[in-house]
């Protein structure tokens, strides 16, 4: 089962794009987990199509409305805003323009059509920007209205949107016709990975009931060429025209119909139910479809399914699915259109035969087929993307993985958070070479990532402290930023979380789990272990024996590899009664604090031999360069008899690594405690007093470890 995120600007009306999404989801929902993102939903429409409650609906911020820059903002800013609102999924299926600009991976973009006013319609001012003195009008589907743009802004805005348009880089693109595929290639210079035609459910359409009027179905925009159909009406007496659709051109078209003297025979229909649309089809003489280079044009398929002859302009995507036995493909000329329609009226038998053939042909283009082909593409994209990423993991996972505890709690400058802000918990005695930095500085985080990459670290355990108010905000921001910067740098260093729970309520934990699963664990730079996201819990022993807490923890963490980073030892025979098998693996957080120098190594080895305390028996070994929290005056620390373990110029650190090399079995995870915990002086980060000595030590230790433990 895949977790698929489907994104479409709106899912409230029943246009071609929306229909495709609804029809596909109707068929996917029983096989995969589906979440739909849109700024607006029509729940009745979804219900009518049998989209069940298992499909999650998530509302996005509305598009920008009502100012001069609406168009430009919606073409650039809105997709970026939405990117942050969309959760993590295995694969994304994004629909319509400009959702190729979403920063989601891996995304399969089904554009339906590029923004045509930027490309093939840009030179036809009548079609896309009916001019007034001071304003031009622009439109982005699926909005029903135009955005008014100041005349002098019009071209610069189009150029800006066009430039930005090229920055989109979805993992794959699926076109709705060969014509559209070539159009996409001409615009974006990328080949569509596949053509998936929209479909139709022939059985839903009533057989012909009558041959009363000409039918056209289209949203009322200039490029749908409804005016041409109206002009042809003037050449046909006693014919009625039914136009099904809404749009901003309606009043203009009514005016034209009146001018042409055909208004009494021309009817604009809207707000029809699906069944009523089928009735309208069944009573029609023929279906007319005259849009300018429609990328696909689902109406053609519907006309065929309804067994009605199609008279359509010979351009666009739908001509790939019709043939001359069910349709007249004509140039966009009113007289030719009128001639063909009159012929159909005068030849009812031939007309019926065309309908019968169309219905047979339409059977090939079912929604089942569309849904199946698009799903195949999504599954394939997911597999390809996963393989690509797992290759990276495999290469770094050749032997143990090396991580370091990381702290993102520092404020900006001495005296701010965690830089000597509190005698009890904030005292520091060393100054980093980067200065008293801010953990929410992207530049600092990038430098830390570079340092980690240079020494050969595979990942950071990012320590996130959570209290009764939830996660510490600064740490949360720093963590998000680090994920983002790591992705931006394409860093080989991954990130995973270590949760440090203090007075954390159940409700807060529930929220955190939702965030982790929707946004964090599937992030491309999040550290995975054995195919699952790696998560560590800082284990003080506070929750030992708390059945409810631990069972809840186990329940939520089933899809992850859960480590305990413990302040205490974890004899396997005691853990079932203390932690009820909640963890997959155990590690020591601060091994230097646990024993006097003469007993340390024995204790580390003993702890290492207790790997079976974890459900998966993951072998973890933790090394530290030293420990000294004597500058902290917190009373809770006073009892610790090993609170000052001097580094001895790297000797302690080297001793720990040497122990690791001689372990009876190679570790699965080597953990450095820590990268930048300055209060306890366990940091390996470069400092003013010791320079990069401990980074260098780490680099050579990891290199040796990789050589030693290479599988």
């Amino acid at each position: 089962m895949l977790d698929i995120g489907v994104v479409i600007p709106q899912l409230s009306k029943y246009g071609g794009a929306e229909r495709l999404v609804v029809e596909c989801i109707t068929r996917w929902q029983h096989k995969h987990k589906i979440t739909i993102y849109a700024e607006r939903f029509n729940s009745e429409m979804l219900e009518e199509h049998g989209i069940g409650r298992d499909v999650a609906l998530r509302t996005l911020s509305p598009q920008i409305e009502g100012n001069t820059y609406s168009f430009l903002l919606n073409a650039t800013f809105t997709p970026k805003l939405w990117s942050g609102e969309i959760g993590q999924h295995d694969v994304y299926n994004t629909h319509l323009w400009p959702l190729h600009l979403l920063d989601l991976e891996p995304a399969v973009w089904y554009p339906h059509e590029p923004l045509r006013m930027l490309y093939d319609l840009k030179n036809d001012k009548d079609l896309i920007s009916i001019t007034s003195e001071e304003e031009r009008r622009v439109h982005i589907y699926p909005k029903y209205n135009y955005d008014n743009v100041n005349k002098s802004f019009f071209q610069p805005m189009l150029r800006s949107a066009s430039s930005f348009d090229k920055t989109g880089n979805p993992f794959r693109i699926v076109a709705n016709s060969k014509y559209c595929a070539s159009y996409i290639e001409s615009v974006y210079g990328r080949q569509a990975s596949r053509v998936v035609y929209p479909g139709v459910t022939v059985e839903d359409f009533l057989p012909p009931i009558a041959n009363e009027y000409i039918l056209t179905i289209a949203q009322l925009w200039p490029h749908k060429r409804i005016h041409l159909i109206l002009q042809s009406m003037r050449l046909m007496d006693n014919m009625q025209l039914y136009i099904v659709g809404s749009g901003p051109e309606k009043q203009q078209l009514i005016r034209q119909a009146k001018e042409l003297g055909v208004y009494d025979r021309t009817f604009f229909l809207s707000d029809l139910t699906n069944h009523e649309i089928q009735i309208v089809f069944s009573r029609a003489l023929a279906v007319v479809f005259m849009p300018v280079r429609e990328p696909f044009g689902i109406v053609a398929l519907e006309a065929m399914a309804a067994a009605k002859p199609l008279v359509a302009v010979n351009e666009g995507g739908y001509i790939e699915v019709v043939d001359d036995r069910c349709s007249f493909l004509i140039p966009p000329h009113a007289d030719v259109l009128a001639e063909k329609l009159l012929w159909l009226k005068q030849h009812p038998l031939e007309s019926a035969a065309m309908g019968v053939h169309g219905r047979e042909l339409a059977q090939q283009y079912s929604w089942d087929r569309t849904a199946k082909e698009l799903l195949e593409e999504l599954e394939d994209a997911h597999d390809a993307w996963k393989n690509k990423n797992s290759l990276q993991l495999t290469s770094s996972n050749d032997g143990p993985i090396f991580g370091a505890h990381y702290y993102g709690w520092y404020g900006n400058g001495l005296g701010s958070e965690h830089w000597n802000d509190s005698a009890e918990t904030g005292t520091v005695t060393e100054m980093p070479q980067l200065g008293y930095y801010s953990s929410t500085s992207g530049d600092i985080l990038e430098q830390h990532l570079h340092m980690a990459e240079n020494v050969g670290l595979d990942f950071f355990f990012f320590n996130l402290h959570i209290n009764s108010n939830g996660p510490i905000q600064r740490e949360m921001e720093a963590f998000s930023l680090m994920l983002e910067r790591a992705a931006y740098l394409k860093s080989s260093v991954k990130i995973c979380l270590q949760l440090c729970l203090y007075d954390c309520t159940e409700a807060i934990l529930e929220k955190i789990w939702i965030t982790l699963f929707s946004k964090v664990f599937r992030h491309p730079t999040y550290q995975q272990f054995k195919g699952k996201p790696l998560l560590s819990i800082f284990w003080t022993g506070q929750y030992d024996g708390d059945v409810a807490f631990l069972k809840n923890l186990r329940k939520h963490s089933a899809p992850v590899t859960l480590l305990a980073s413990s302040l205490r030892l974890y004899p396997p025979h005691e853990e079932p009664a203390l932690t009820f098998g909640a963890f997959d693996g155990w590690s020591l957080f601060s091994p230097l604090e646990l024993a006097s120098p003469e007993h340390r190594e024995k204790l580390w080895r003993e702890a290492y031999s207790h790997a079976s305390a974890g459900q998966q028996g993951i072998r973890c070994f933790t090394v530290s360069p030293g420990y000294d929290d004597t500058a902290l005056v917190a009373s809770a620390r006073q009892w610790n008899s090993h609170r000052n373990v001097p580094r001895e110029d790297g000797k302690v650190y080297r001793q720990m690594w040497d122990t690791a090399y001689t372990l009876p079995q190679p570790p699965d995870i080597m953990i450095i405690s820590t990268f930048n915990e300055f209060h306890e002086n366990t940091q390996i980060e470069s400092t003013v007093s010791s320079g990069s000595q401990y980074l260098e030590l780490t680099r050579s230790a990891i290199k040796r470890g990789k050589d030693t433990w290479k599988k």
């Binding site: 009533l206 057989p207 009931i209 009558a210 009363e212 003037r234 007496d237 006693n238 009625q240 039914y242 042409l260 003297g261 055909v262 208004y263 009494d264 025979r265 009817f267 229909l269 809207s270 707000d271 029809l272 009523e276 649309i277 009735i279 309208v280 069944s282 009573r283």
Partner: protein
């Protein structure tokens, strides 16, 4: 003659309502173009069909066109020769015409449409269908023999003096439906029996109705200031606009209007007329009073009129609406504007401030409350002035299955006969012989076609058990009501349901969709279903009624209390509305 301050529509006046060909096989008459027919360069067309076949080309005798460029009268002569019909205008042959050489005229009654059309399009501005009889004998034979069979024995009488010079003009938009025809006939009988002078006008009517009905456009020259219009609003069209702009007193009878959207798929033209009514609501404000089909209709329409009036008032006051929906009004001058505005009524309350109030405030304050003005309500009554007197109607045999469910209603979408078929199919699956009769009257052709399609295709296995009776007369209805096992209605229309009253009269168990209308007639009795109930459950109830005698009797007994004896309520309310408008306001 009244002077019209609004542009008058294009129309033709003709003094005759019907014609017969003379011994010379010709008819001659004069028409008088009126209103915009005179000024806009339209064309006048004589378009003739057979009365028994209105199709083109088989039943089409031909058409003859004459340009109306300033002609105040046109002499028309239609001649019948061996070659067919020909029409002459002012003694000359038509320049533009189409004549059907294959049309057989011998002995046939014809319909002559007198049409005004825009010169450059096919838009018909005026259409007056008039019968042409082959000879005088046929004309005489066609004189209506009014069937007063359902008249009540004790006709309701007015209790007030009617001014002799006062004439009532009964106006319909369309007289095509069975309901409007019944109401029209009852109004005519009631006024006639009470010695109140009246005339009937309509925009849409048939050539047979033309004998007693005049085109609504005639009101433009026919309506006098002292006349009283009773206008029945049941759908859109030009009639409302014509009537609203007359300066005589006017009563609007507001029928319950269906949702136009549900008519689009079956008859877009009809749907358009309904839709256009929404834009004509300001015209309703011009009436002196409104009668409503039901209290529910009154509630819906009144709300809508208040909204319209409020918006109009706010516009007059120059009110502004902020983006968050708050309306701000500058108070300066509002009272002055109110005092003379017909758009609102005001009420002023005075209060004295308590001692200790700030000195800068006056001791007494006046609070003026303004309420938008809408035409007064003259009561609610169903569009049937009295219940049918079934005892006086003779049964007329018609085809039906041996045991059957009966449903009665015009063939229009809000009657939901397709639901009736769907539920019947569920019933028929479980009952081997029970049939269904849907008796109705033509209304929306597209919907009629759709129902026949459903019977022949979707429910073909039960088609032999499903009977559609179009244009059922009252004798046939009586025959069916007396023999039906059960009455069923899926109608969602919130207007008056005469067929449920009839079913109650015949003591039939009733299964009906729950609406405000059915609930008002049935109370808690019968079996009423709503949209949340699955059709198979409704089918199960129907089968239970048909197969379980005790259940059948209990349903009928419970319904018994709902046959009200208020048989003249509508007539009396109608008289009330006339009295209030004419006498009290005079």
């Amino acid at each position: 003659m009244e002077k019209m301050s609004h542009p008058t529509p294009a129309y033709l006046v003709i003094d005759e309502n019907e014609f017969a060909f003379s011994d010379k096989d010709e008819i001659a008459f004069r028409v008088f173009p009126k209103g915009e027919a005179l000024t806009s360069g339209n064309v006048f067309i004589v378009d003739i069909y057979a009365a028994d076949d209105h199709s083109h080309p088989n039943g089409h005798a031909g058409w003859w066109e004459y340009p109306l460029t300033g002609s105040t009268s046109v002499d028309v002569r239609v001649t019948c020769t061996e070659k067919g019909l020909t029409t002459f205008f002012n003694g000359e042959s038509a320049q533009t015409f189409w004549q059907n050489d294959k049309f057989h005229i011998a002995g046939r009654t014809l319909i002559m449409h007198l049409v005004v059309r825009e010169w450059r399009s096919t838009t018909i501005l005026f259409n007056d269908p008039i019968s042409l009889y082959p000879d005088q004998k046929k004309l005489e034979a066609s004189k209506p023999c009014v069937n007063l069979g359902d008249l009540p024995d004790d006709m309701p009488l007015r209790w007030f003096i009617w001014p002799a010079q006062q004439r009532v003009k009964i106006v319909f938009g369309s007289l095509n439906s069975k309901g409007s025809q019944t109401l029209c006939r009852q109004l005519a009988v009631l006024l006639s029996k009470n010695n109140i002078s009246f005339k009937i006008y309509a925009h849409e009517y048939s050539n047979t109705q033309r004998k007693s009905v005049q085109p609504v456009e005639y009101l433009c020259h026919d309506a006098k200031k002292e006349d009283l219009i009773f206008f029945v609003l049941a759908e859109g069209g030009p009639a409302l606009s014509i009537v609203a702009n007359l300066s005589c007193k006017k009563i609007l009878y507001h029928m319950h209007l269906p949702d136009y959207r549900r008519y689009q798929a079956f008859d877009a033209e009809f749907a358009r007329k309904l839709e256009e009514l929404a834009d004509q609501q300001h015209l309703i404000m011009k009436f002196d009073g409104i009668c409503y089909e039901s209290e529910y209709t009154k509630k819906i329409v009144t709300q809508s009129l208040y909204k319209q009036a409020s918006l109009s008032l706010l516009e007059e006051w120059g009110a502004c609406q902020t983006p968050d929906g708050i309306v701000t009004i500058s108070p300066i001058g509002i009272c002055d504007k109110n005092s003379n505005s017909p758009k609102c009524s005001t009420e002023t309350l005075f209060c004295t401030l308590p001692k200790g109030s700030p000195e800068f405030l006056p001791q007494r304050l006046a609070l003026t409350m303004t309420k938008p003005g809408i035409p007064q309500s003259l009561g609610s009554f169903p569009p049937s002035l009295w219940r049918k007197n079934w005892d006086k109607i003779n049964e007329e045999e018609c085809h039906h299955p041996e045991m059957f469910i009966l449903s009665v209603g015009s063939f229009r979408p809000d009657r939901h006969h397709e639901t009736t078929l769907q539920i019947f199919a569920e019933v028929a699956k479980q009952h081997p012989s029970l049939g269904l009769v849907i008796a109705g009257w033509p209304f929306i052709n597209g919907y009629w076609d759709y129902l026949r399609f459903l019977r022949e295709n979707i429910y073909s296995q039960y088609a032999s058990r499903i009977v559609f009776l179009q244009s059922c007369n009252e004798g046939q209805l009586k025959y069916l009501y007396k023999r039906a096992k059960l009455f069923f209605s899926a109608c969602s229309h919130e207007g008056y349901s005469g067929s449920i009253i009839d079913a109650l009269s015949f003591k039939l168990p009733i299964v009906a969709r729950q609406t405000t209308s059915t609930a008002s007639l049935l109370g808690q009795s019968g079996l009423q279903f709503n949209n949340s109930i699955h059709y198979s459950d409704v089918a199960h109830d129907i089968l239970t009624v048909c197969q379980n005698c005790d259940f059948y009797k209990s349903i009928v007994n419970n319904q018994g209390g709902n046959i009200h004896q208020r048989k003249f309520l509508s007539a009396n309310t109608f008289f009330d509305s006339l009295q209030k408008t004419i006498l009290h306001k005079n």
